[in-house]
Amino acid sequence: MRVLVILLALFWPLSAQAVQPDEMLSDPVLEARAQSLDHELRCVLCRSESIASSNADWAADARVIVRELLSDGASDQQVKDFFVARYGDYVLMKPRVSGANIALWLAGPVLFLLVLLALVLRARRRGVATADPLSAEELAEVERLTRD
């Protein structure tokens, strides 16, 4: 069993074809909304799969619930709230932008800006941008040589 767990961990989620024909709604617009919601909800019993790609029974039940709620006129947010109320934020594939998760969402952009800032400061301190400028005659010579 241990070996099997490791093997499964070695490779991809064991998914099948996602939503089953008998689970689908007849209204194509509603079904399209349901399918995009499927990708945002986690199969809480699975490894790291959304209910859209898992063929576990739990995921199948969750897909049916999503469709029932939508048929009853629930908004996308209400469907997500329904699952969050029962399974916590764990069920959301896209973490909320709130609380500690703000750090997660901002990490990339902030890191990028910090690195750029550090680079610019460093270049300024060392005066790299203006290092060893060419004289006017040298520039003219370069122009002459590079002209094709």
């Binding site: 064991l14 959304s50 896209k94 998760n101």
Partner: protein
Amino acid sequence: MTAEFGHFALVLALMVATLQMVIPLIGADRGWPGWMAFADSAAQVQFVLIAGAFAMLMYAFITSDFSLEVVTANSHSAKPMLYKVSGTWGNHEGSLLLWVMILALFGAMVAWFGGALPDALRARTLAVQAAIGVAFLAFLLFTSNPFARLDVIPADGRDLNPLLQDPGLAFHPPFLYLGYVGLSMTFSFAIAALIEGRVDAAWARWVRPWALMAWIMLTIGIALGSWWAYYELGWGGWWFWDPVENASFMPWLLSAALLHSAIVVEKRDTLKSWTILLAILAFSFSLIGTFIVRSGVLTSVHAFATDPTRGLFVLGILFVAIGGSLTLYALRAERMRATTAFALVSRESGLVLNNVLLAVSCAVVFIGTMWPLIAEAVTGEKVSVGPPFFNITFTPFMIALAMILPIGAMLPWKRAKLGRTMKPLWGMLAASVALGALVWTLQTGGRMLAPVGAALATWVILGVVADLVQKAGGWRARPATARPRLAGLPRSEWGKAIAHAGLGILIFGIAGLTAWEQQDIRTLAVGESFDLGGYTFTLDGVEAGRGPNYSTNMATVTVRRDGGVVAVLNPEKRFYPVQRMPTTEAGIQSRPLRDLYVSLGDQQPDGTWAMWSWIKPFANWIWFGAFMMAVGGGLSLSDRRYRVGAARARGTQAVPAQ
């Protein structure tokens, strides 16, 4: 007996590696040639021993020796020969043995081909390589012995996970390992350079081929895995942002950064300490990836809890390797002074920006992958971080990268004028934006992905064209002058062009597939038809059959367009009795502009069959683009400057290397 030979060889290899870790270091420090030369012989002996052990394990798999625990757990006498062979590395113990074998192989290659390296650098590099070997050989022998015998020999094995019984996946792990372990080589060179306190162009010229090789192998490995997922999982998904995938993607991003920054060290003798840091980080992420996969810590807390020794052991290696190397880096990095400066607008700056974007996007993937652990430790709450998060946070950096690529690739070294570089590119930019706009007006529905992707892809590819045209002497150059100029370009230039164009094709494939995919899901009785995207799909029949170690239901689906037959697809639903696991084999017809993709489900109570069908536009472009990137890397690797002994040649090159 063969298994005992294998086990014994591994123990010997551990001893040799321990000596190889110590003696050459002392020799290099004191300047004793004999002690330094010991590294070469030790590296070769170590490789022969581990290769012998690997051959013994493979022999056990081929002959179905069920007295070995690992063979029983992962093989079966009825399994096809290819998968008996690939089963050798289709499990934890065997794959780890493959890992250390490749590690030893690369060490031996330095001994074989590294004659031109300074003796002290070679000795130190091999000593560091041996230290990694010691850690992983100990891990193998003490926690995951592949040669453990069973007390009671079972009549037959428990078979290999059927999902792994596939040609695409049989060769996916070896490529990934070649990549991971290739980065151990750049790591060893980096540590050796830190110990010596010296980095120069010759060093970069030695490191770059390893970085390039590791990156090529990771590219192929990741592409194979993604291609496998596409046709095997039955719904055409090809990337999931799964922790295990991210584990291989992070080293890929960093090795891409490393192979670009090594160019700057080689050509301009600057960015030295950054390149060293990248080499350390790239291998660190290979180790982190190994930890993530081996411990199962991110995929299931329980897997880690049931067998904490392995996870803790890798964690220990991780701390020593990363902590030790970063400490050494902090102490010595100051010595790596650049000898040249560059202006804000220059090829160097372009490559710095490339590195920043790749490194930050790697950080985003890392933080997203680790966040569930971090959040649970800090706030006590369990959160999930799935594909929607990565798609939003990762994509902008890749868009930025594609935007600067054609400009950076054409900027001159040291000091450049943006206006002059952009001159041949304005037309290309206009053409790409126009194409994006055309796509935008043609499509109904508001997703921006397709127009943006199409514009970016065109920009990258036309940028390559502009670069080549300029190198040939401009649009107005006569063929008589252009041809010899292009023919005279070094292979690394062609490698650069092909790899960058491959990226453009990959971007187009991703955008096209994601934006224009069409699907149909329904139950179908035999003889029934339906229409999808201008094609008519007919289920002609479903037949039960038998494979060597599975039973199957195979459907025949005929696809017609305008009355003519376009394709006959045979999607299957297989069942592997030994592991009690069903698998799907999709029926796919690949064409340059689209794939027809049909996947068969279960039979319904009323006798109809569940069927999933897709038109997947440009799907092939994803793997073709990745393939082109690997080919481009290969061309660059075959450039004569990197061939054996080239490190000694110090001639100046007329064309900057890419």
